[in-house]
């Protein structure tokens, strides 16, 4: 029996990351695609699949202005397979879908993308009307009537539980934002390239306790592209392939309040069932931090420390610093680099494994990285390896 077909990440690319961009969101996506294609040594005619999260969202275009089918048409892609939708295990679920497709032989090179346009949309409401509803329905009805309107509120309730059960302190939690901002200073594309100090963090205004202003990411206009290539198509690419060594995703009742706890925990356990690698083999962790606490929960979920030990694990910040034992969110995370919405973590994992991090490149010869998205009711984890 032939060995199963593996899935690899070939090219990765990113547009400029900024706020209130005027460049068309399709063209931002093209910027990221061009960079990814260049790195892979592919041209657009070799792309035969497209995958995205969450697809075009007509009622809320700033959140997701570009659909997979729209991109296929705009760039003249001859797709044999494509997928785009929000009903997957969070943003990097689009990469899981692409990897599954190339393993099944449905496509050879799948262009995965996430394009966000939230700051531009707020600046141009006539072109990108804000989400307006006379009445709320679906999941929103259980939160919005009580002013639990932002994901900050929902995530804060998880974080408060950690404060109560395990004694997470503000000084500990601060290390996510401080680390992100320190790393962002070394990333020329990052949105916020200024260091953040502990005093400034501690004196910031609260958004939703225990999360303060600096625990939250910032709206951004940008696109990230990740090309997933089949193991039998590697002779067509010229960059070092990065193998998708394991994937996992879960959904916890798709609810922010009915599930007992966060979806990142079962996802983290599940990931290690699909690989011989162990947490100790990981050279860098790129963990979803739309809100800082999610990164703490992911550290526990993936077994870098025990459940409840996340606060002590990051205390002082040395362990997760660029020169620490587990460099975290080396591009600045979403708090420093901007709200790329999940794809930035997989992008950076590949950059680090290829030694292309420039000023932010971690030392040694990193071979294994983990990248995640989501964490609340939905979660996805990817283990990436340079063999």
């Amino acid at each position: 029996m032939a060995a199963p077909l593996e899935a690899y990440i070939s090219g990765v690319g990113q547009s400029e990351i900024a706020v209130k961009q005027t460049r068309h969101p399709l063209l931002l996506t093209l910027d990221a695609a061009r960079e990814a294609l260049d790195e892979a040594g592919l041209n657009i005619s070799q792309i035969d699949g497209v995958s995205t999260y969450p697809g075009r969202v007509p009622a809320f275009l700033g959140f997701s202005p570009v659909g997979a089918d729209e991109l296929i048409d705009a760039l003249g892609i001859r797709a044999r397979w494509y997928a785009g939708g929000g009903e997957i295990t969070s943003q990097l679920g689009a990469v899981v879908a692409a990897a599954t497709a190339v393993r099944a032989g449905l496509a050879r090179h799948v262009l995965c993308f996430r394009t966000v346009y939230e700051a531009a949309a707020m600046a141009r409401p006539e072109e990108y009307p804000p989400l307006r509803r006379d009445r709320v329905d679906g999941q929103s009805q259980w939160f919005a009537p009580f002013g639990a309107i932002s994901a900050a509120n929902w995530t804060a309730q998880y974080a408060m539980r950690h404060v109560k059960l395990y004694g997470l302190t503000r000084e500990q939690l601060a290390q996510i934002a401080l680390t992100d901002r320190a790393n962002a200073c070394r990333n020329p594309r990052a949105l916020v390239r200024e260091p953040l100090g502990m005093d400034e963090y501690l004196s910031a205004r609260m958004i939703s306790s225990p999360l303060c202003l600096y625990d939250c990411d910032r709206f951004t206009d940008a696109s990230t592209v990740i090309i997933v290539s089949a193991g039998n198509a590697l002779d067509e690419i010229r960059c070092t392939p990065v193998r998708i060594a394991a994937m996992a995703g879960t959904v916890e009742r798709h609810s922010w309040d009915q599930a007992e706890w966060m979806a990142c925990y079962p996802t983290g356990s599940e990931l290690w069932k699909h690989t011989d690698y162990k947490p100790a083999d990981v050279d860098t962790a790129q963990l979803y931090d739309g809100f800082s606490f999610q990164a703490v929960a992911w550290l526990e979920s993936l077994g870098f420390c025990g459940v409840g030990e996340g606060g002590r694990f990051i205390e002082g910040g040395q362990r997760i610093a660029l020169d620490g034992e587990l460099p975290l969110n080396t591009f600045g995370g979403q708090i420093g680099a901007g709200r790329l919405h999940g794809f930035g973590f997989a992008h950076e994992a590949v950059v680090q494994l290829r030694g292309k991090g420039g000023e932010r490149q971690i030392a040694g010869d990193p071979k294994v990285a983990v990248a995640t998205s989501g964490g609340g009711p939905l979660a996805t984890a990817l283990l990436l390896a340079r063999d």
């Binding site: 329905d137 009805q141 009580f146 958004i207 009915q258």
Partner: protein
């Protein structure tokens, strides 16, 4: 005219929940075969797949499972700061309601606080808010 809270669109699934407060009752969907509570309300039991589900009143008391004090003005209807809490509902294992703890200072709320429902009517909806017992 004061700005109202965002209100749910009523349908056959959720009407009992959002209007039970008119009679002072907190109604949760319950499987009539295996007795599991089903929230959010759906026309089928997620435990035994029975379609015999119907709203039943619960006591309306519960315990604060977790909470946050929101300071950000996300919506004009809400004066900040206010408490958002996840309340574990007495007599309905596994059912939590996200709501507000009202009638006390925001710093008076803690984990494990015992609370009781207090309905607030807006238009055709009775919102189950909670106050400390």
């Amino acid at each position: 005219m004061p700005v109202t809270r965002p209100l749910p669109r009523l349908d056959s699934d959720n009407r009992a929940f959002w209007t039970g407060g008119a009679e002072g009752r907190l109604l949760l969907n319950r499987c009539q075969d295996c007795r599991t509570f089903i929230h959010p309300p759906r026309p089928v039991c997620h435990h035994c797949l029975s379609e015999k589900v119907a709203p039943e009143a619960v006591a309306g008391t519960g315990t604060v499972d977790t909470f946050t004090v929101n300071h950000q003005k996300f919506h004009p209807a809400f004066e900040v700061p206010y408490v958002i809490a996840r309340v574990a509902i007495d007599g309905a294992p596994g059912v939590f309601l996200t709501s507000n703890i009202v009638g006390c200072p925001v710093d008076a709320v803690d984990f494990g606080d015992r609370v009781k429902v207090k309905f607030e009517q807006q238009d055709d909806v009775w919102l189950p808010l909670f106050e400390k017992i």
